[in-house]
């Protein structure tokens, strides 16, 4: 079966630099998660804590999408056609959380 064709395929050696970079990104993701844990248990609940979590999450998301999903190295049109629609999500989040806070004032 497949083994008869094996000789025709040229297997390139591992790209050491690229693999090292991937592990670095993994390390960064792990480190950010560790920082999140430290923040979770040393800070009181409040909007500053939430802001720190959201900021760290966006950093993590940028590393996953940019490096692991390779979007940073794709054509710019592709990058923007994925990122620009995210504006709708951000707007929806802001609008709905604001609405929710108004609901709690009505106290139904």
């Amino acid at each position: 079966m497949a083994h008869s064709e094996e000789s025709q395929v040229t297997v390139l050696p591992p790209d050491k630099e690229k693999i090292k970079k991937l592990w670095t990104v993994a390390g960064i993701l792990g480190a950010i998660t560790a920082v999140e844990f430290v923040v979770a248990f040393t800070m009181g609940h409040g909007s500053l804590k939430t802001a720190i979590f959201v900021a760290l999450t966006i950093v993590k998301a940028a590393y996953i999408v940019g490096e692991f999903m390779h979007l940073r190295y794709e054509v710019k049109v592709l990058l923007w056609s994925i990122l620009i629609p995210m504006i709708f999500i951000v707007w929806m989040l802001v609008a709905f959380v604001y609405e929710g806070m108004k609901f709690s004032e009505i106290n139904f």
Binding site: E5, V11, V65, M69, E74, V77, L93, V97
Partner: protein, 256 residues
């Protein structure tokens, strides 16, 4: 890869005239990106609704130490998710979800290493890294099964919950949670837990299925005969997306 050379266009011709990949990505990869975008909208809808309902409920204002479960206010997550398998009765807030996050990040790394091996046409390495990725996915699902079981069964001490039975309100002792009743706080809290982590878990499950198909096709030499391992890349995109969603679920459901 084939798609990198596809971007070159002869002068006088538009990229949209056909025969080339306008965004420098193959058809399959581009469609995977747009599918993931639509999937991101679905997950956002769930998480935004969670944000709306949570901010509409009263927040807990006391100290973390004095916290008790009540339907009057939204629970603080580190008091709900504090159990770890085999360590019954010991409070280890968020440790288990931390382990789950770590498992998913690791399986994302092994996936990207499989993609890297695919670029080099290294079948043995693709097989190895795909197996690690599948193992990571299955471990995550097993962790989630345990977490759900714990959430459904509940804590040792019950919470007093008001329930509407036969036309009147009765107060009863409740342990655990379901879509109908919840000991940890307002009913919506349990419902969102089941829906958000359930929808994500279902994505992980289908991701494991896809990963297995890719492993099988690699093992039987399908991609070697095809001359490229682009399918590994496409399914890799999906798998990273599942990891990405977990990053958001972890923040908004467990940390905030």
């Amino acid at each position: 890869m084939a798609h990198t050379s596809a971007t070159t266009v002869s002068p006088g011709r538009s990229v949209w005239d056909g025969g080339v990949s306008p965004m420098g990505a193959s058809y399959g990869k581009l469609m995977m990106w747009f599918f993931l975008l639509s999937d991101a909208f679905t997950f956002s809808a769930l998480l935004i609704t969670y944000g709306l309902v949570r901010s509409a409920h009263q927040a807990y204002t006391g100290t973390v130490e004095a916290f008790t479960f009540s339907t009057e206010y939204w629970p603080i997550p580190e008091k709900v998710f504090e159990a770890v398998p085999f360590l019954h009765g010991i409070e280890l807030p968020l440790v288990f979800v931390g382990i789950m996050t770590f498992i998913l990040i690791m399986s994302s790394v092994t996936m990207v290493l499989a993609v890297e091996a695919g670029h080099r046409m290294d079948r043995k390495a693709v097989e190895k890294w795909m197996l690690w990725t599948i193992l990571g996915g299955i471990t995550f699902l097993a962790c989630q099964a345990w977490e759900w079981t714990h959430f459904i069964v509940g804590t040792d001490t019950p919470t007093l919950v008001k329930d509407f039975v036969n036309g009147q309100w009765v107060t009863k002792e409740v342990t655990g949670a379901s879509l109908a009743i919840n000991q940890y706080g307002p009913q919506d809290f349990a419902d969102f837990f089941f829906f958000i982590t359930g929808f994500h878990g279902f994505h992980v499950f289908s991701g494991v299925m896809f990963n297995f198909l890719i492993y099988y096709n690699t093992f039987t030499g399908v991609y070697e005969r095809r001359g490229h391992y682009e399918m590994v890349e496409k399914v890799g995109l999906y798998w990273h997306f599942v990891d990405l969603v977990w990053v958001f679920v972890f923040t908004f459901f467990y940390l905030v």
